[in-house]
């Protein structure tokens, strides 16, 4: 089973990358943008085939390694 997770910076945390990408897009003529935020994306392919169990495992991985909850949030966005 393949679980997809998205990790984003918390709302009030500075996203230096997003800021510069926004400026660059603006300079390229994409002027309608309010904000760009960059995050990370993971696809974790596990042997576990039970959706609930697989998601619980990934939830644990996110908490223990993949995110630093000081500045980031995570969300499981798909399982297949």
């Amino acid at each position: 089973m393949k679980i997809s997770v998205v990790i984003t910076l918390k709302k009030d945390v500075l996203d230096p990358q997003g800021k510069v990408i926004h400026q660059t897009l603006d300079g390229m003529g994409f002027e309608d943008i309010n904000e760009v935020r960059q995050g990370k994306y993971f696809e974790i392919d596990t042997k576990e085939n039970d959706k609930k169990k697989a998601e619980a495992k990934v939830d644990e991985m996110c908490k223990k390694l993949l995110t630093n909850l000081v500045i980031e949030d995570f969300k499981i966005i798909g399982s297949q």
Binding site: L9, K10, D12, V13, L14, D15, P16, K19, V20, Q23, N68, L69, V70, I71
Partner: protein, 574 residues
Amino acid sequence: MIVNEQLAIDHGLKKDEYKKICDLLKRIPNITELGIFSAMWNEHCSYKSSRFHLKNLPTKGKNVIQGPGENAGVIDIGDNDAIVFKIESHNHPSFIEPYQGAATGVGGIMRDVFTMGARPIANLNSIHFGSPQHKKTKNLLRGVVHGIGGYGNCMGVPTIAGQTSFDESYNGNILVNAMTLGHVKKDKIFYSKAAGLGKPVIYVGSKTGRDGIHGASMASASFDDKIEEKKPTVQVGDPFTEKLLLEACLELMAGDSIIAIQDMGAAGLTSSSIEMASKGNLGIEINLNKVPCREAKMTPYEIMLSESQERMLIVLENGKEEMAKKIFDKWNLDFAVIGKTTKSKKIELYFDEEKVADIPVNTLVENSPMYNRKWKKAKLPKKIKIEKEQFKTLKVQNVLNKILSNPNVCSKEWIWQQYDHTVMGDTIQKPGGDAGVVRVHGTNKAVAASVDSSAVYCWAHPLSGGKQIVCESWRNLISVGAKPIAITNCLNFGSPENEENMGEFVECVQGLGEASSYLDFPVVSGNVSFYNQTKDIGIKPTPSIGGVGLIKDYKNMVTMGLKASDNIILVIGK
């Protein structure tokens, strides 16, 4: 929000400190004012437990241009050249978020140096972790090293030396001390003292966000089990913006429009504006609606206490605003006139047409608390007894293997290989020797720097440990052929409210002072980090000394590698 004693205590103030605030103001402060007092009066900004002892350190010398009290110390290296340098701790944030904590530590110290008009030319760092076996050590070490490299490499400043140690007393409280050296022409040094009335106060750099609100208070509190709750106070660094800020500031500094400049470090806009006003014996008026903000609806309290990185405050000459703005526009940085200097000797803040703070500057600075804390001699650890007989059974080869494989002794190349140590094209002694050496660009002179600490010595005997560490710094500099000139120090200790920890501090500082007086090796800048402890147990006393020396002709530099076979090896000293 109602301000009362409990709220003051929640801000890290003591009961009698809160009473003192009310007495000084002759009223109860509002929430913004309370925030400002708590930031200015905490240990990190006010040095309330250390000032009493630090004043005994020797800070003058024939090469000293600026001692402690400015953003960084400055020494004269002849021919109108000067070196600006300082070391700074970022221990608590690095434990919570090792990458960002270490990165913003490096960013902060570089800002301290270029605020004075100097181009940073070398970085150093002193990092201390718990036992290599401890479950957190590996991640912390990795994160810190990546953070230091991530910021310094992007800035294009070589990291030329450092120090790494492991000891279980840091298991719950690692140390990250970052040091920067910069080069400036002696007649182009900038200071933070505001002067003149009605001069525009300018905000430049990044926007203000909600990052690190109360970071300075966190640096003054010890870790306990509730550490998770303190998490959101960590800031994210943006070395790219800082690189732009560096270039923009140096470009503006090339002219003569700046009266005073100060970076926004711990306690952000609060401490920078108040320091400038205090040094100039002036008042400052700020319209907080003019401050560039990253988030909508930030309150005056948040704006004043935000620790967003990569920001500066400047007092300009009248009429230079347009010219200055052009420079910051070119570098794509925020620029805003947010206030002016006044003769009120007060800090006066306005928000939505309302006055939201009105505090006499002297109550925040001169009247800040100073404590001569109780202390007692720390109990010295027991001597380790090794019987003569035992020595005889040891094999030299085994002993050597054991020493060389000790994490505190083994090569640190895997660390410094992750730091760009050759950018700027003047690094003539890389990490791996006794001290790093960089040429002063375009001259025959070179500057040597080393950072040292020896917690075990300081723990075994704080007074001698304090002396030894200054001597070690001296030896490292003379070993590369440099004449030692001055030092900066970062004093990492446990709680000043614990009499034994305070005792370690007092005696180490005394030792430091004695050795540096004796060697004519004055202290020109430094930083104190207390409350390095987990629960009630303090770390081993860890003063880090950053020494700087001069090599008049870089061709006379000495390196430690053996040069040819059949040379005679001598041991000197006693």
